[in-house]
């Protein structure tokens, strides 16, 4: 179990006293597939003006696309944008709930990545490296900081949407860190953690008696061989027993008052992104360090109504907008927001051009690594900030480019960790989440 048993900060040298390091935990809402910034957060009047025109050659000469062939045409957003709140954040009509919390979030419109396929881009976002085999951020924190509660995992993962994220379990892998730091995937259905329930016909009291016998026998044998691992194993069985009680309660949303359920749009017993958001808050309250949600279905290519920006994208937004904003509001009203980094985003952006795969008449955009939007809140992030700009077409970053490593470095900073000192020796080399780069974006910090 990720970080279980480690009660407090294990690697205190990494923590610097001083003004930074307010954040204690992270909740990361990953919209898997790559949400379209140009239809959600980044209005481009020029794009609308040149809608249907060929994309300028200067952008295409050295470009590689996943699906676009030939010279593509520009695609203006069919959605209207407005400025919201005192901060005047630009947000599209597709995200009315996010618009209401505009003054609480920092919107970064200048994040870029190096990867233009889902799996490597997601793994890059999660682990700081596009290849498989590195630890994900949650695992790094599990290893470095441990759990806030010895009875809870440090790193929990929840999935929604039809499929797994493309990167699969590599998105929450512990990589070369000891494997107990891998993300614990919470399942839908009766067992929120795999194998949590006793087998049919085995009552809790019966299980207790079985464990008591087991404990006695293990203890008895330990006295002859003296292997400390045995003592640890006895403890793990006891912890498992406590988790059996704890987790079903935690994931049972019916104990939430109806106004909270309504705030999220969650229905107890129904698996949804909204339910996952509410559960994320409950996990945060009970001491989980890093909570990551993956929501599948943002890959708006426009090959048909199931993945276009006219029919499918609004549905995705309806499914997720209210709950994302509700999570922020809920965290704040419980005083959790100030030490929780809440982050929303995908693995890459989408092209300003219409993909038109095989002559499709549905509107859609291809993968675009050069610019994407994310928003962050809480944990020391500046409220109501608009950071970074893309060019007139939304193709390249125009101002304040921010790399994935910068994002990680900044998040670690907020968690009180110097990203350059936060290393793990593996195969003779010191590895870091930020690999060999990453700079702290101080503008984002309150």
């Amino acid at each position: 179990m990720a970080g279980l048993g480690s009660t407090h900060l294990k690697r205190s040298p990494l923590l610097r006293k001083g003004s930074f390091g307010k954040a204690k935990r992270v909740i990361w809402l990953h919209m898997a597939g790559g949400p379209s910034s140009l239809d959600l957060f980044d209005p481009k009047p020029s794009l609308l003006k040149f809608d249907g025109k060929d994309c300028p050659e200067e952008f295409l000469s050295k470009e590689r696309f996943a699906f676009i062939k030939g010279t593509p045409q520009l695609l203006g957003s069919p959605y209207s944008f407005k400025q919201y709140g005192e901060s005047g954040q630009w947000i599209s009509e597709l995200l009315p709930h996010t618009a209401k919390v505009a003054d609480k979030i920092a919107v970064v419109r200048s994040l870029h990545t190096t990867q233009f396929n889902h799996a490597p881009a997601q793994v890059f976002m999660a682990t700081g490296h596009p290849f498989f085999g590195r630890p994900s951020m949650g695992s790094w924190l599990s290893w470095g900081l441990g759990s806030l509660n010895p009875d809870m995992p440090a790193f929990a993962v929840m999935l929604s949407g039809q499929f797994l994220p493309s990167g699969g379990s590599s998105c929450w892998s512990s990589g070369f860190l000891p494997s107990q730091h891998q993300g614990v995937r919470l399942m839908k259905g009766k067992d929120p953690i795999l194998f949590l329930s006793n087998p049919e016909g085995v009552s809790r009291s019966q299980r207790r008696r079985t464990l008591d016998t087991l404990k006695t026998l293990n203890q008895h044998k330990y006295e002859t061989h003296g292997d400390a691992e045995t003592v640890a194993r006895i403890e793990q069985y006891e912890l498992a027993y406590r988790m059996q009680e704890r987790f079903p309660d935690l994931s049972n949303l019916s104990t939430e008052p109806s106004d909270v359920l309504d705030l999220y749009g969650a229905v107890p017993g129904e698996h949804s992104f909204a339910a996952n958001c509410l559960l994320a808050r409950r996990l945060a309250e009970s001491g989980v360090r890093f909570i990551q949600l993956f929501d599948w279905g943002w890959d708006s290519h426009g090959t048909g109504p199931q993945d276009d920006i006219v029919t499918s994208l609004p549905k995705q937004c309806q499914r997720t907008d209210q709950a994302s904003a509700a999570l922020l509001v809920d965290l704040e009203q419980r005083g959790l927001l100030e030490d929780t980094i809440l982050i929303w985003g995908g693995e890459f952006g989408r092209t300003p051009m219409n993909e038109k795969r095989n002559g499709s008449t549905f509107l859609g955009r291809d993968h675009h690594p050069h610019a994407m939007t994310m928003w962050m809140a809480g944990g020391g992030i500046k409220e109501g900030l608009s950071y970074g700009e893309t060019d007139d077409l939304g193709y390249l970053i125009h101002e304040n480019p921010m790399e994935v490593h910068d994002l990680h470095a900044t998040m670690l900073h907020l968690l009180g960790i110097e990203h350059e000192s936060f290393t793990y020796m593996h195969q003779g080399r010191d590895f870091r989440l930020t690999d060999v780069s990453g700079k702290i974006v101080t503008d984002l910090i309150a």
Binding site: M1, F163, S169, I193, T213
Partner: protein
């Protein structure tokens, strides 16, 4: 009780160099003042130079007992930013680090002398040839059984300790069985060894274990981790792949005790051997275990390059214990390896036909027994076939038409295209009934109407045909016409006229030419014998497609022509026999491109930035003593196992040692470089490496030597008096208890509960796993639980899906096999407890073991419990244990007792 453990941890009033100081120096100083660089003429990673002077003077950098006079303390505590170390861009040391170093110096700068003279990268121990060491002789040695013991025990006694006593034979029976075969011994086997208790019985026992075919399965487990074997491609579109013939090759190679040099050569270069056998070609699958990416828009070259890169990294790690991956982008910071070294090795592996997005080349593989089966089936078929043909030619038969589709009998199923029937007229010919379909292919275009999913489709009796009546309009002829039959799929096509259709493969049942265009201007019946288009006897037909390329064609009634019953029966019999034929399994292989590829250094590792050209070769630092440099994979494989290669035999022996003793002699078994750990018993490692070669790279012999040692036969109880000085048991004063591997835990539970099916080899299987685990993005390759015995096969045969590994394995530290894994961690977590208690596999095992105990012929529950206890631990319970279990039996029954037994620490640990 073990209170001394706590004492050991708390007793630290003085600073310990390796625990408190070295990590600080390593993190902050070694990069510039270490083995590779010595800025300011100063090196601080070894004692000899750290205590000497620097460019700034002869005064020692560290003066024991006097921090204030020591340059080291002065440099790290200076407030002058130009003078302070580490330099400004790296930032100062933390306050606690500075004060710790100060205290340490003032305490006398105790730096346990490792006796190491200053070494330089090329002089690193692992790059020097192993030398036969002097074998230590203990005075009045009553402990040693073989040479290994002489090395281990001489070091142990030098530290003032004696070895532990020998474990009893029931412990040894279980220990050896799990170590050698990965399965627990039977109670009979344990009893037999214990009862006899002689050297002869012991040696006989080892014979049995090493001769067991389960030995190969057990040895293959770690080799599959190293070779990143999986049954899926990886990346987003994690489709299934067929590699099980390669996996079976590995099992078989271990079972045959193939010499390791041969084992190496076949896997790295089997295809380049002289007239390679099928088995040698299959062996090359080792390096086809790289991932392939079939995601849309993926650049084939990008992923081909990344597969070659993986081959270099994996080869370096598996055989040379060397981390090459850094050098892909830049010269190594700590080891004497350059980008040139990297790409010269890359050039060796840059010769395969395989791309980054597809699975070819592959080869079809059939096992010996299956091939034999097939031969006998084919003989029978051949004799029936000739009888069938003579019967068919001698039988007079005019097949009756059975109408299936007409305007009066529209197809009952899914229809597409134009299904309007026109009434007859002077310009509209009709064959029968009231109407006909007219189909026009404008300007030579393809046109088709079809139906499928018919609910009333006929079954092929054996020799049936499909017919359709057509009329070609003389004024507007098509270039070709085609009838296509749907059974399980549409791959059954017959055409007349030109070869204009692009579907299927011409000349096969998927596109078979039946003849020229039929006569124009009259009604003609098209017949297709179902045999010709590959519809087997007893197959149901559920659709027909009527196609033409251009022209105007009238299509009328269609149906089935029944074959002569005797002939049909004959054909059916042949088909039934043929169903018994074993299908070969395909396996991915390495096959050389005909035109050699040029290799370039890739700047910063990017395939888009090729730099200067580079020739195949090996890193110079490993090649000091071998003449010439390998130019292809075959020569390279010989170089790896050349007597002058300093690394391979050490690395392999160290890994075997790790398997047997829990930790390698070099604890970082994946890294023999300058940042790796130095060996705990360097002479022993050298001796093993040379003995391994002397014995002809004989793995079983070396494995047996380790297991036959007194070191191995010690008891596994922690030694209170030794743990204080040797907390990690590197001296091996007791035998280390080790938690079993994921697969072995599952295999053992199935074995002791009587569920295990010990069948060896074959395609990977899908045992039960909870729903929702294997929810891949793409349909089609879902986890379908295997029927019958395949659910109870050994874990090595469980289908390995990279993006969603079998959960119980993942929980018990199995890697995802995306990249090579040299060493699994051994964690101890509550999720493991939950899996052993509640995973349906273990629940079923507990029920089954409970039932076995219950059904034992005995009138005493004590015997029944003892029986189950022995199955799990190889020993009988003592009175305390019996009493506890009897109490539980009374309250909760046999399954609860079995659950305890399967979950015992002793059961999941090899002690």
């Amino acid at each position: 009780m073990f209170g001394f453990l706590l004492l050991a941890m708390q007793n630290q009033s003085t600073l310990d160099f390796y625990q408190d100081i070295e990590p600080i120096l390593r993190k902050n100083c070694f990069e510039c003042h270490g083995i590779v660089k010595q800025k300011g003429g100063f090196r601080i990673d070894i004692r000899a130079t750290a205590m000497a002077g620097s460019d700034f003077g002869e005064s020692p950098v560290i003066i024991p007992g006097n921090a204030d006079e020591s340059d080291l303390y002065w440099a790290i505590s200076s407030t002058d930013l130009d003078e302070r170390m580490p330099p400004e861009e790296k930032g100062p040391l933390q306050d606690y680090e500075i004060s710790r170093i100060k205290d340490w110096i003032n305490q006398g700068a105790l730096w346990p002398d490792d006796g190491k003279p200053p070494t330089w990268p090329s002089e690193h121990w692992a790059y020097q040839m192993p030398k036969w060491p002097r074998i230590p002789q203990l005075e009045s040695d009553s402990f040693s059984r073989n040479t290994i013991d002489q090395f281990v025990f001489s070091k142990l006694t030098q530290e003032g300790f004696y070895p532990s006593a020998q474990a009893d034979f029931q412990t040894l029976a279980r220990r050896t069985a799990l170590d050698i075969t990965g399965l627990p011994p039977s109670s009979y086997e344990v009893g037999n060894l214990l009862e006899k208790g002689t050297e002869v019985a012991w040696q006989r026992w080892l014979d049995i274990l090493f001769d067991s075919l389960h030995y190969g399965e057990n040895q293959a487990l770690s080799w599959l981790d190293l070779s990143r074997y999986a049954d899926s491609n990886g990346f987003e579109v994690d489709h299934n792949r067929s590699m099980s013939p390669w996996r079976d090759w590995v099992i078989d190679a271990f079972n045959q005790n193939m010499p390791f040099d041969e084992f190496t050569a076949q896997q790295l270069a089997g295809d380049l051997m002289e007239s390679p056998s099928l088995s040698q070609i299959v062996a090359t699958g080792f390096h086809r275990n790289t991932m392939t990416n079939t995601e849309g828009g993926v650049d084939d070259e990008e992923y081909r390059v990344s597969a070659v890169v993986d081959r270099v990294n994996t080869t370096a790690s598996v055989w040379l214990g060397t981390t090459m991956s850094c050098v892909q982008c830049h010269d190594h910071k700590y080891d004497p390896l350059t980008s040139n070294d990297y790409y010269s090795m890359y050039a060796l592996f840059n010769d395969g036909q395989d791309g980054g997005t597809s699975q070819g080349p592959k080869i079809d593989v059939l096992g010996e027994a299956e091939a034999e089966d097939n031969r006998s089936i084919q003989e029978k078929v051949a004799s029936l076939q000739s009888k069938y043909e003579s019967l068919k030619s001698s039988t007079k038969w005019s097949a009756p038409e059975t109408l299936w589709v007409d305007e009066s009998k529209p197809p009952r199923g899914h229809v597409e295209g134009d299904w309007t029937f026109l009434p007859p007229s002077p310009s509209t010919p009709v064959h029968q009934g009231e109407g006909v379909r007219k189909q026009v292919g404008d300007k030579g275009s393809f046109i088709q109407h079809f139906f499928n999913e018919a609910i009333d489709g006929p079954v092929n009796h054996g020799d049936d045909s499909i017919y359709a009546w057509i009329y070609l309009s003389p004024e507007d002829l098509p270039s070709s016409i085609m009838l296509q039959i749907h059974s399980d799929d549409w791959e059954h096509r017959a055409y007349w006229g030109e070869d204009t259709f692009s579907f299927g493969v011409n000349g096969t049942p998927s596109r078979f030419r039946q003849g020229d265009l039929p006569k124009k201007g009259e009604w003609v019946r098209l017949d297709i014998p179902l045999e010709v288009v590959g519809i087997a006897p007893e197959a149901r037909i559920n659709g027909i497609a009527f196609s033409q390329m251009g022209g105007t064609v009238y299509w009328d009634d269609a149906g089935i022509l029944l074959g002569e019953p005797q002939v049909s029966a004959f054909r059916t019999k042949i088909a039934q026999l043929e169903k018994g034929l074993h299908q070969p399994l395909s396996s991915m292989i390495v096959s050389k491109v005909s035109e050699p590829r040029m290799t370039h250094v890739l700047e910063k590792g990017s395939f888009l930035s090729p730099g200067k050209r580079i020739a195949p070769g090996v890193p110079k630092v490993f090649n000091k003593d071998v003449k010439g440099s390998p130019r292809n994979r075959l020569e390279f494989s010989k170089w790896l196992t050349h007597p002058k290669n300093p690394l391979t035999s050490r690395v392999i022996m160290n890994r075997l040692w790790e398997q047997v003793f829990g930790v390698g002699l070099v604890a970082t078994s994946e890294d023999f470089g300058t940042r790796g750990e130095v060996p705990s018993h360097p002479e022993l490692l050298d001796w093993l490496a040379l003995e391994f070669q002397r014995q002809g790279w004989n793995l079983k012999a070396m494995h047996r030597l380790m297991i036959d040692s007194a070191t191995y036969r010690q008891t596994s109880s922690v030694r209170p008096e030794v743990i204080l000085v040797d907390p990690n048991n590197r001296l091996l004063s007791w035998f280390p208890r080790v938690r079993l591997k994921a697969e072995v835990i599952r295999d053992q539970a199935l074995a002791v509960s009587g569920l295990l099916v010990g069948k060896i080899g074959g395609p990977s299987v899908f045992p039960y796993q909870p729903k929702g685990i294997d929810n891949s993005t793409y349909a089609g390759d879902r986890w379908k639980v295997s029927p019958g015995e395949d659910r109870y096969r050994r874990g090595i045969y469980t289908f390995w899906r990279r993006t969603s590994p079998y959960p119980m394995f993942q929980i018990f530290d199995a890697p995802s096999r995306e990249i090579s894994c040299a060493r699994r961690t051994r964690s101890n977590t509550p999720l493991q407890a939950l899996a052993l208690l509640n995973d349906p596999v273990f629940v079923e095992a507990a029920k089954s073991l409970g039932a076995l105990m219950q059904s034992l012929q005995s009138d005493d529950d004590r015997n029944r419990i003892t029986f189950g206890f022995r199955r799990c631990t190889s020993r009988g319970p003592d009175e305390t244990e019996l009493k506890e279990l009897l109490t539980l039996l009374e309250s909760d029954g046999w399954t609860a007792v079995a659950t305890v037994l399967l979950n015992l620490d002793e059961t999941v640990v090899r002690g």
